[in-house]
């Protein structure tokens, strides 16, 4: 079977549904609605129309030669998901799920968010479709992504800061699950990445696979060949699986996911789930995760709120074990250097999440040599990160450190 055809609920030994029984009816209902929608030309047409007239798809590709000088001369091509409406890849999944929520007759959507990009995209879709929207966001993240909190509120969403546990993305997902258990009758949980119980990992992947499908054609048209390597940052793993998926059955294309190494994988302060974790159950699925010997989830750290998550989607765990994709850690410092480099060489300010994939591409270029063509998912734009970046680089008062 082609790797691309894996539908879940299991990816090898990963995936499944480790959730309270109260949620099973809703997951079954969602699975059934999604299976119907997949085969329904009117659903696909409606989604394609939104992509074209609202999101701005297809997103373009941009070759970045001045940046690539720093990558051993390899050709680097960015897939510009940052140019989507709302500023990241997250909108692809949100529009798909919001359409499904409407079909299911749900009047309320809830979402978790780390960087705030998924929350903004969800609030946007809720405004577009006239749905009530509640976004759970770790209190720590509401501070470091304050601009996105304001965007969500302006769009009419209620943002609830989560003060339990590590007060980041993991705890926001817990709160969203608790809300869903309680309000499942009228509420759809619009999960923002390829984690969680079935059908989320395969459904969210399907909504994002358009990234790789477009990029595969675009790179072929530009270069006459497939890329040597495809690179993306990995938090929960949605932008990475989105760009990987079209290439899964092209064995000559190497796939690389770059996780957040925070202050370094030799310190406790990282979010390098696939590099440093081991299999376990978190948020409804079996997958790699960061945990102690007792199976308690360990708090992650990353300068990037969107990668600050101790779990990862089950399909990535499967691809890692198969050896089909490779996962590497990128530190805060490496990511911020790449963020500044792309800004200065190409005039494109990426999100800090995205910068992890860019830093990875710089490494890959040096390893693969000047003949290599590296496709990078430029998953989001950096506007939301200006405060963090300004502080990090000490440029708030105009003096660079």
């Amino acid at each position: 079977m082609a790797l691309r055809d894996e539908l879940g609920p299991y990816f090898g030994e990963y995936g499944g549904r480790f959730v309270p029984e109260s949620l099973i009816a809703a997951l079954d209902e969602l699975s059934a609605a999604y299976e119907l929608a997949k085969l329904d030309p009117s659903f696909q047409a409606e989604l394609a129309d939104l992509h074209r007239t609202y999101t701005g798809r297809p997103s373009i590709i941009t070759e970045v030669p001045r940046f690539a000088v720093h990558a051993g001369g390899a050709r680097i091509i960015l897939k510009r998901e940052d140019l989507n409406h709302t500023g990241s890849h997250k909108i692809n999944n949100v529009l798909g799920q919001a359409l499904l929520a409407k079909r299911l007759g749900k009047t309320r959507i809830i979402a978790e968010t780390g960087a705030g990009q998924h929350g903004v995209a969800s609030a946007t879709a809720a405004a577009l479709f006239g749905l009530e929207c509640v976004v759970y966001m770790g209190e720590v993240d509401t501070v470091r992504q304050a601009l996105n909190v304001a965007r969500m509120r302006l769009l009419g969403a209620t943002v609830i800061p989560v003060t339990t546990g590590s007060k980041t993305l993991k705890d926001a997902i817990n709160e969203a699950l608790r809300d869903w258990v309680t309000n499942v009758d009228n509420t759809h949980y619009l999960l923002g990445t390829v984690a969680g119980p079935h059908p989320f990992p395969s459904m969210v992947r399907d909504f994002h696979k358009i990234i790789g499908e477009e990029a595969r054609e675009q790179v072929l048209a530009l270069t006459g060949q497939l890329p040597t390597a495809v690179a993306a940052c990995v938090g929960g793993g949605s932008n990475a699986i989105g760009i990987f998926h079209a290439f899964l059955d092209d064995p000559e294309v190497a796939l690389y996911g770059f996780e957040a190494a925070g202050r370094g994988v030799d310190t406790p302060e990282h979010a390098a789930t696939l590099t440093m974790g081991r299999p376990g159950v978190l948020h409804g699925a079996r997958s790699y995760m960061l945990q102690d010997e007792d199976g308690q989830t360990v708090e992650s750290h990353s300068i990037s709120a969107g990668l600050d998550y101790p779990g990862v989607g089950p399909e990535h765990s499967w691809l890692k074990d198969l050896g089909r994709a490779h996962y590497r850690p990128i530190t805060d410092v490496e990511a911020m250097d790449a963020l500044r480099l792309l800004s200065r060489t190409e005039g494109i300010i990426p999100a800090i999440e995205t910068a992890h994939g860019l830093a990875g591409a710089l490494q890959l270029g040096k390893e693969l040599g000047p003949e290599a063509i590296i496709l990078v998912n430029n998953s989001g734009r950096g506007d939301k990160d200006m405060e963090t970046a300004a502080k990090y680089f000490g440029i708030l008062d105009g003096v660079e450190q």
Binding site: F18, E21, S22, A26, N183, V281, G295, T297
Partner: protein
Amino acid sequence: MSSKVEAQLDKGKALIGYLPIGFPNFEESVEAAVALVESGVDILELGVPYSDPVMDGLVIQEATQIALAQGFKLPQAIEAVRQITERVSAPVLLMTYFNPVIQYGVDKFAADLAAAGGAGLITPDLIPDEAAEWIAASEKYDLDRVFLAAPSSTDERLRQSVELSRGFVYAVSTMGITGARADVDVAAQTLVERLRAVGAEYVGVGVGISTGEQVAEVLSYGDGAIVGSALVKSLNDGGVAAVALTAQGLAHGKPSAS
């Protein structure tokens, strides 16, 4: 093969009391559990503190976070069961999210729990569909296995929960998480009736039950009434003496006491 919990339920309708292990500290959590039994609780449900308790409301979340912050380690769950079963004869179930069991080793956890005198497990985030390893281990070590049933479950799923549970099937009284509520949801009785219709012999009803009156109401149709947050709150506010008093008040809801 015999179920400790079913043997207890055969004696009469039961008050089932929940407390987390390690809150406010290990020793006091053991004392509080013993005090519950001495105050009329028939079956103990000891919560294993977990970092991501998605079925729990704030009261239990806060208590288990304190237990974890104080350094709770998984072997202490087995140790608590051992110490409590040495002192009281009530069956002791552990209520645990499943990842700690997986990491400990499902077979080893079952073996150690059985050796400590434990009755079995309540598994809030493990549905029967994913439970093959636990079902095998619980059979091997003669342990009870409590799966959940929800108002939203189809009849087919209720039947599966009933068939694969041993001890009792846990009827979640309302669509929601743990925490006290003013009224028992009417959904509870409907759910118990549906469970009976698919063959349930023993049904425990939990989530949102916090007073003696509610215990009485639930026991008019269920076999066990499960109380958690109300006990945890008493223990937090007034220590072992207070939680014993609360348990006595709840026990007044049992038919034998009225």
